[in-house]
Symmetry: C2
Subunit: 326 residues, 2 copies
């Protein structure tokens, strides 16, 4: 069993490739919910939905979020009623939020409704929210005031300088049922290439998760979420990079693979570095983290090496294959 | 000022005609909310929405409910996820429910959000929910069990024999702010041609409403909601007629204008009977209710007599104009 932690577009790319290469029933995905937001009375779970849509083939790959063949008549009507709409929800996408919110309002847990949605979309992978309790990534910006992470990211385009980040509710939250067990029973634990501050740290900050990672017999590997050696053209990717950089800066870290690896040192057994940043290998190894260099940008490469290496690690192959650093 | 009580399609037809003939700012519409329903986590207010859509020209007149130029991509997607969808919400219609539910969830009252929606749709008429407290018309059917009124009507097509009707929460509910005052200050109070059991009695049953109707200096007139002398072709109209008949039967009443007038006797100063049922005039007058015969089916007639008579009554014209009974 492979247990993955994270959330977002980068994570979904790896998870989709893993599900295609392995048996999806071997996958347990523990998905960040700290950027969930209540919008128009609906519970929106962007990272869970990206996971559901990507794994079920519903995702709009060009846009990177939401559903294929989408229309936005509901949001257009909201705008025509004078409402400020900064978080676009497509008409088909809304069905997911309606189903979820209806179930939550009648007493289901987020774990239950997420499993139901995965089942309705015929997914064999186990998809777990990180917690049934609401945790919220909040960002204090230089311009003043605290923002919900989605406001910082989507509404303001991640352009603000970030002074502070907190995960409100994190200390009182419990990991969702099955999360700690999925880490304990795993053959491999993967920290997905997700925004380390917005999508990984909220999971790692839940009571018991770091302890479970330390205790599991499985190797824990992180795939770099930062590839600075490849220029970014897509505006969405650029916004997500700004967000990563801004949040890392608030933690006193640079937007580099090396700084992310240093932040995770002690938790992980190996760090997968992208060849584009291969020159950082020695710096990362110097922090005591075993480093493997493999192509990580799955939207830009057909190279199956990363997935094959992950599957090999899950089968117990201890030694990373030799990879030439360019 | 004309204060109208009721809700639904028949009511909306009269209110739209009144708003066109008088100044809409002179109208206060007290709308039934006892057939409101929570669906997919959203607060649906069918009678308020029919009012908003009809008065603002958004209504789909052929279908009788919902918005013009509508699509149903969200509901189609819910169905494709295996969800039973028996209450169809269009993509544009959903915007209303999202706006309302979002406001309610952040502490607004239904009165406040209804006023906001009316304002967003540029309506000058005052539209008041009957209550900010939830009241629910519940129906016990012969087949056994209690149903929400919408389940009886929409899901089961009003085909069940009804044993009992209750308005759950009615006795503890308060009329919404402004309702009793709108009755007290009116020049004319109109009980709209609405399902008498599902749309009128919930309003009349709120604490203080009957007393306010008895105390107001304004004449109180009811427009017949039952016209049996005109054959019904439209399936929607037929379903609504079944619903009226079934609910009236549970109160020991026949589905006739006479029985409705008898049920309202003591509350009203005049009853408007449709010429198609003109032969019931003597029977109604025998119950002590002044009866006026005027064409009431505004979707079938261009005759302005009903609206002109209402406006004349509001101006203090005490004597109904002579009308020939066919």
């Amino acid at each position: 069993m492979i247990t993955c932690l994270g959330g977002g577009i980068g994570a979904a790319r790896v998870w989709t490739a893993l599900a295609a290469a392995a048996s999806p029933a071997q996958l347990t995905l523990v998905v960040n919910t700290a950027d969930d937001v209540w919008m128009h009375g609906l519970r929106i779970c962007p990272d869970i939905d990206t996971t559901l849509y990507a794994l079920s083939g519903r995702q709009d790959r060009e846009r990177g979020w939401g559903v294929r063949d989408e229309t936005f008549r509901c949001m257009d009507t909201l705008r025509s009623l004078g409402e400020e709409v900064w978080f676009n929800l497509g008409d088909r996408d809304l069905a997911t939020h309606l189903l979820r919110t209806g179930r939550l309002r009648t007493g289901a847990s987020l774990t239950e409704v997420t499993a139901e949605l995965a089942d309705r979309m015929c997914l064999a992978a186990a998809i777990l929210p990180m917690s049934d309790t609401e945790v919220q990534t909040r960002v204090r910006i230089e311009a003043g005031g605290w923002l919900h992470y989605q406001e910082f990211l989507v509404r303001r385009g991640a352009r603000d300088r970030v002074r502070e980040v907190v995960w409100a509710g994190s200390e009182e939250a419990e990991p969702a049922p099955g999360v700690l067990d999925a880490i304990a029973r795993a053959d491999l634990v993967v920290l997905a290439p997700s925004n380390p501050v917005a999508s990984l740290l909220p999971i790692l900050g839940l009571p018991g998760v770091r302890k479970a990672l330390a205790a599991t017999a499985a190797p824990v590997v992180a795939i770099t979420p930062v590839v600075t050696g490849v220029p970014i053209a897509d505006p969405g990717e650029a916004m997500r990079a700004r967000s990563r950089a801004g949040l890392l800066a608030a933690l006193g870290r640079d937007h580099t693979a090396t700084d992310v690896a240093a932040h995770l040192a002690g938790l992980i057994d190996a760090f997968v570095l992208d060849p584009a940043d291969g020159n950082e290998r020695d710096a990362i190894e110097a922090t005591g983290v075993d480093t493997v260099v493999l192509p990580t940008l799955l939207h830009l490469t057909d190279d199956p090496a990363l997935i094959e290496w992950l599957l090999a690690r899950a089968r117990g192959a201890a030694v990373p294959p030799p990879v030439a650093v360019p």
